[in-house]
Symmetry: C2
Subunit: 202 residues, 2 copies
DNA sequence: TCAGTTGTCTACCGACCGGTAGAGAAGGCA
DNA sequence: TGCCTTCTCTACCGGTCGGTAGACAACTGA
């Protein structure tokens, strides 16, 4: 009933949709429950997004932009190789801390197939290129173990996103473990792991 | 229509269900489409499994047992630290090669929450303990970098399962890349990555 | 003032999904 | 032979979901 104005409604709906798509999956989340959570009828949601697919598209776009700006900010003022690598990981974990469903949504986007994931990833493409150049340069100067930089980036991605999304596995492997403290432990662990993996031989 | 006998039907249905649960998610896969793929009516499926949840349970159980026997076989005859670690990774990748939906199903199980994942993991608990003892022993003798062995096992899990399930990300990061050759490349990459990460400092 | 745009609603439809009820065919066994 | 268990089927129900049709209110600007 309260008319909050178009743009604000849009962003509220997108935020809630990312939340529910991440938690329940694209198929598992209904536009009705998303609308209800926002305090509006389903048909109002469909006024803003002509169908469920269009809503997903808007979510992918928004998520890409949000992560992009987060990483850009994190990279500000990071100079050395380690500063930059750590800044990226810290930035992603920071985003996950304030928005727990974000990593799950990204993983769901990947699950929906390359066409969906690409719509999220296009925004991040410049960062991807920078990351690969960065890794390559580190290998050339001998600061990073020599290997295929693109495959390395992929492996780093899986390690970071995995440690953010596989909470069920975490509790099965190390026992009950949740909350902010757990997130910090995982960040520290991933950081050490990545550092060890990048280190050149002896 | 053809009566193949109870036990065989059961296992066929479970295999197809793991396939579709992995591909479409638990919610996204319907018992109707699973039954149809097996060549049987939905109500026949419901004769074997009283409801969808019971079918999931059977899938989790079967998946756990299958992975357990695979890993047990892989560990046969592996003596040194590296032989054992590599055998486990190679075993998982081998299973993924002949059964592509298997890793996706495991990830879906984890997504459904700890209660579902535990039903998969209980069977593997002895292996989990062995793995942690193994890592701890390696740290004590200085062959593995010192850290929390349980957290390390978790991180290793995410790296392996991630590289098996994030195909969409792979294609976005390194370009189009699929098939057995890609799987081999990923296995090699994960192996090198893990080896580098476990190596003790200088 | 009044027409047009923007935003929210009620009411409804067709499709699909999980699950129930119960008929009936095939083989084992007395 | 005839009963009983095993297996598969047709038919149906209630609920949910995505999406359409269209009424109606409120703000905007000529």
């Amino acid at each position: 009933m309260p008319r909050t104005g178009g743009e604000q409604r849009r962003t509220t709906i997108v935020a809630e949709a990312i939340h529910q798509f991440g938690r329940d999956g694209y198929k598992g989340a209904s536009i009705e429950s998303i609308a209800t959570a926002v305090g509006v009828r389903k048909q109002t949601l469909l006024y803003y997004f002509s169908n469920k697919e269009a809503l997903l598209e808007a979510c992918l776009q928004a998520a890409g932009e949000r992560l992009g700006s987060e990483l850009a900010a994190a990279l500000e003022g990071a100079e050395t190789y380690w500063d930059r690598a750590e800044a990226v990981i810290h930035g992603v974990f920071g985003l996950a801390a304030e928005w727990p469903e974000f990593p799950m949504f990204i993983r769901e986007a990947a699950r929906l197939g390359p066409s969906a994931f690409d719509r999220f990833a296009v925004v991040l493409d410049p960062l991807r290129r920078r990351a690969i150049d960065f890794l390559q340069a580190g290998m050339d100067t001998g600061e990073i173990r020599k290997q295929d930089p693109a495959m390395l980036l992929f492996t780093l991605y899986t390690a970071v996103v995995g440690s953010l999304t596989e909470a069920s596995v975490l509790s099965a492997v190390v026992g009950a473990d949740s909350g902010r403290a757990s997130l910090r432990r995982r960040e520290r662990e991933v950081l050490l792991f990545v550092r060890a993996a990048l280190r050149p031989a002896e």
